[in-house]
Amino acid sequence: MGTLNPATSDRPLSIQVERMEGVALVTLGGACTMEVSRQIWHSLVGLVTEQVPAVIVDMTDLDFVDSVGLGGLVAAHLKMRHHHGTVALVSPQPPIMNVLEITRLTQLFPIFPTVRAALENVRPNEPPQPTAQRPRASG
């Protein structure tokens, strides 16, 4: 699913969902800006209603995220907890990592350097083992 950010120079937000080894892999790209950030919310929470055991959100290609986009991650986390599932993040760029650190959402989500590392650590109905990926904080 992709949507053009209207009247802006931002890269369009893209949200791709696929199933991989029993979990849902959500690949985000472009800019999650205010006029489109609800899409992340709907996509993630929609996945959770399908009772997937884990959602891995690959942020490698994500340039920007606002508080509504972050809220979508948190909303998904809350729903996943009902069935002991996990939302894990992969490779946020330094500016996004900085936002996660400022909001202390690094305490809520395990963060992995690669999708492979996330897959190896996030198993259905098992708590994740976060790795120590810490891109340079900027700001």
Partner: protein, 153 residues
């Protein structure tokens, strides 16, 4: 929308450029227009990528708050953006037509009891990324300033 005086550590008419006034409809697509104008000017003045990211995020959070919480998605209401960009600093005021709020009463979203709340991070992100932030007395205009760390007089 108040025009009361602003602390000079956020805007000083004696040293800062005149404020440019923009008024947009209260929806999130129209709210992008001031951002495009302001960010393009900032990029011309050599601000760091981190600074541009922070100003963009703070402005988006302010506009989102104005549309959602201030004007409550009422399409008949407007958002007024006043801004001044110079090599030294960026000043942005965002006013809505709502009743205003008291920023001190907004719960800290990083507190352990709030960390799992999906909403409520916009104000703290504005405070984190801008150098100075204040509000008018009514609480319906946020006034933000970002100093250019690369600026040397």
């Amino acid at each position: 929308m108040s025009d009361e005086r602003t602390s000079p550590d956020i805007y000083d008419p004696a040293t800062d450029p005149p404020l440019t006034d923009l008024v947009v409809c209260s929806d999130l697509v129209a709210a992008k227009q001031p951002e495009e104008v302001i960010i393009s000017q900032i990029e011309q003045f050599g601000y760091s990528e981190d600074a541009v990211f922070g100003i963009k995020l703070a402005l988006e959070e302010a506009m989102t708050n104005a549309v959602r919480h201030g004007n409550r998605h009422d399409a008949s209401k407007r958002i007024r953006v006043r801004y001044a960009v110079s090599p030294r600093r960026v000043i942005i005021f965002v006013a809505d037509e709502g009743a205003g709020f008291c920023p001190e009463e907004v719960p800290d979203p990083t507190a352990p009891e709030n960390i799992e709340r999906p909403n409520g991070r916009g104000i703290m992100l504005i405070n984190a990324y801008m150098t100075r932030v204040s509000y008018n007395a009514a609480g319906n205009e946020v006034r933000m300033m970002k100093a250019n760390e690369r600026w040397a007089p």
